[in-house]
């Protein structure tokens, strides 16, 4: 997934590539669901089907030296930040070839070389560290930005408030990306937050706040670019509020008894970021099918790579405890 040259908006040619990347993430996660149900994948798995435009739009806007912290729903962020699908799939299979060498799994995906400081299984857990990484960039005078992804559920936890407060107070080059899918696991926003517009929380710290439709990858990209330019330019952190939709359950296998099925179906029909982009660039059915078979092949190859990977020795569990 070669990065396009950075510019304020995406050209039509880029959009085809963006579509390909989003479709790769979609097919990757569908495959993860399938292999989990087949009993091949251990652990907890959370897919972000429906939220691909957030991952791709934001990560496209990042520069090479920028770093991210992700969440328990991290496959899309990880692929979009440059980790090879083979390495990601191998991690989900617990193999040494995995991006965390079998020590992390789906909720702890790392790829430091590509600027991924880790998915985090503690809600809000990565946010203070993004403020800290941004502080290091500021102290060293490096033109880099640290960026945190998190969901609406995280806006209620202390680390969110403490990290944003300190980032704004110290004017560090950080960007805080809220992927607002309106669900904290099974709890709807109406039951977890007393306010409807969660960007008000950033404004309370005096932080610049911008919004975009999280299903429109172009809008996400443009908004993220603006936020990153602002932070990189030394003008302080930015809060990016993306309105998105989680098509799937909280975890693979979640029966979603808490969710209105008609509403979920309607959102899938009307708000699919891949379908929206496909319509926008007027991609023919034939071309889409070609693209689809191309990415499906990559995903199948990733599964083969992962299955052929090396199991860690049990006693490897005692390595990497200390540097």
């Amino acid at each position: 997934m070669a990065k396009v040259e950075q510019r304020a908006s995406l050209a039509k040619g880029d959009l085809a590539d963006v579509l390909r990347e989003m479709l790769l993430i979609r097919r990757f996660e569908e495959k993860v669901e399938e292999r989990f149900r087949a009993g091949e994948l251990p652990g907890f798995l959370h897919v972000a089907i429906g939220q691909e435009a957030c991952a791709v739009g934001v990560c496209r806007a990042l520069e090479d030296g920028d770093v991210i912290a992700s969440t328990h729903r991290a496959h899309g962020h990880t692929l979009a930040k440059g980790t090879h699908p083979n390495e990601l799939m191998a991690e989900l299979y617990g193999k040494q070839e995995g991006c965390s060498h079998g020590y992390g799994g789906s909720m702890h995906l790392y790829d430091v070389e590509h600027g991924n400081l880790g998915a985090n299984a503690v809600i809000g857990g990565g946010l203070p560290q993004i403020t800290g990484a941004a502080l290091a960039f500021k102290l060293r005078g490096e033109p880099r930005v640290a960026l945190a992804f998190f969901g609406d559920g995280a806006t209620n936890i202390g680390t969110f408030h403490e990290a944003l407060n300190l980032a704004q107070l110290w004017q560090v080059p950080a960007v805080f990306v809220l992927e607002d899918n309106h669900w904290a696991e099974s709890t709807p926003e109406s039951q977890h937050s007393p306010i409807r517009d969660l960007s008000e929380r950033a404004k309370a710290f005096g932080m610049k706040s911008v919004k975009a439709d999280g299903q429109d990858v172009e809008a996400v990209y443009k908004t993220a670019r603006k936020a990153l330019d602002h932070a990189r330019g030394g003008d302080g952190p930015v809060f990016v509020h993306l309105d998105t939709v989680r098509f799937s359950g909280h975890y693979i296998g979640d029966p979603q008894v808490y969710r209105d099925r008609d509403e979920a179906r309607r959102l899938r029909e009307e708000r699919d970021p891949i379908e929206l982009l496909r319509a926008k660039i007027e991609l023919s059915g034939e071309d889409f099918a070609e693209l689809d078979s191309e990415v499906t092949e990559i995903v199948e190859a990733a599964v083969e790579f992962a299955k052929a990977g090396t199991d860690p020795a049990p006693e490897d569990a005692l390595k990497n405890v200390y540097a």
């Binding site: 400081l117 800290g132 990484a133 941004a134 502080l135 403490e162």
Partner: protein, 325 residues
């Protein structure tokens, strides 16, 4: 050899590291103009400025987490957590994040951060400003834990902690800040994981940490008058533990007293006792004695506080029990 207070020795390690290394900086609550609640960072703002002597809000999760984030970028931050009790607020970042990043990333990351904190009874702070919580942190794989008891040790150990590539929880004891002691002219790093024999003896080994090192030395002098020869050993680093030196000492004396100010029950001393009984069982001539606080929060009224925390008298009584006197 110059003489420094324990407080000055901590400051000397920080200042010296910051003079030679731009990646070292300190952050914490009230550490700039005020110089810290214990006065450790006094004068440092004037020399290094507010970027490197960073006052933070009262916000332990962000304070700890921000230090971790800077460490992930290769800086060597020293975060001051004003009271050890507040480590409970920082605990999510210290336990789930700092201690785990290297491991969960399969060795891709290191987290060279120090969390300096202090606690200790003896001045009626009550139940939320003087706990000794080292047992919480020695239980976490991925953390190193230090508890220094003298000016020389605190300076040399803090230096090593700053330059260690792992997260280190560095305990200081409030009542030790004014004590004076000789230190080498230049900072001599003390490797983490090396115990120190403070006093050699033949009949019983007192393994003590923090303030109890000094109480143990007082008790040893008293015991000497009764004809009991006491060896006093300070592990200094609680994780990793210098098992070799502790076991060797007990194999020589055949008796052991483990002493700390933290609550005895489930305390750090229980692990030390377990190590000794596994590795020196056949050498032991008496049950291992343990000294620590009684199982209660720290009371405010001085008479109650004194009743709860251990002192030299408690160590002496334990020594005598081991030799049957």
């Amino acid at each position: 050899m110059p003489e420094l207070t324990y407080r000055e020795a901590v400051r000397d390690a920080l200042v010296t590291a910051m003079r030679q290394d731009d990646d070292v900086f300190v952050m914490g609550e009230d550490i700039a103009e005020m110089g810290g609640s214990m006065g450790v960072t006094q004068g440092m703002l004037a020399e290094f400025g507010p970027e490197r002597v960073r006052n933070t809000p009262i916000s332990e999760m962000a304070l700890a987490g921000t230090a971790i984030g800077a460490a992930l970028q290769g800086m060597r931050p020293v975060a001051e957590i004003m009271y050890e009790d507040f480590m409970t607020l920082a605990a999510e970042q210290v336990v789930n994040q700092a201690a785990k990043h290297r491991y969960m990333s399969g060795g891709q990351l290191s987290v060279p951060v120090v969390f300096r904190t202090q606690g200790g009874a003896g001045w009626s702070p009550g139940a939320q400003h003087a706990q000794q919580l080292e047992a919480w942190f020695v239980h976490i794989p991925g953390l190193k834990v230090v508890f220094a008891s003298t000016p020389e040790d605190v300076r040399g150990l803090l230096w090593s902690a700053i330059y260690d590539d792992n997260p280190v929880v560095f305990f200081e004891h409030r009542t030790l800040y004014p004590i004076k002691g000789e230190v080498p002219d230049e900072i001599e790093p003390i490797p983490l994981g090396k115990a120190r024999i403070h006093r050699e003896g033949e009949d019983v080994t007192v393994i003590a940490t923090g303030r109890l090192v000094h109480e143990g030395l007082k008790a040893a002098e008293e015991a000497e008058r009764d004809g009991i020869s006491v060896e006093v050993v300070d592990p200094r680093t609680l994780q990793p533990l210098d098992e070799e030196m502790l076991v060797a000492s007990v194999k020589k004396t055949n008796r052991a007293v483990v002493a700390h100010e933290a609550v005895t029950r489930m305390g750090y001393g229980a692990e030390v006792a377990a190590v000794l009984q596994y590795q020196a069982f056949d050498w032991l001539d008496a049950p291992i004695e343990r000294v620590g606080s009684k199982f209660a929060p720290l009371a405010f009224a001085p008479v109650m506080e004194q009743f709860v925390v251990p002192n030299a008298g408690d160590v002496l009584a334990a020594i005598k029990r081991t030799v049957g006197k």
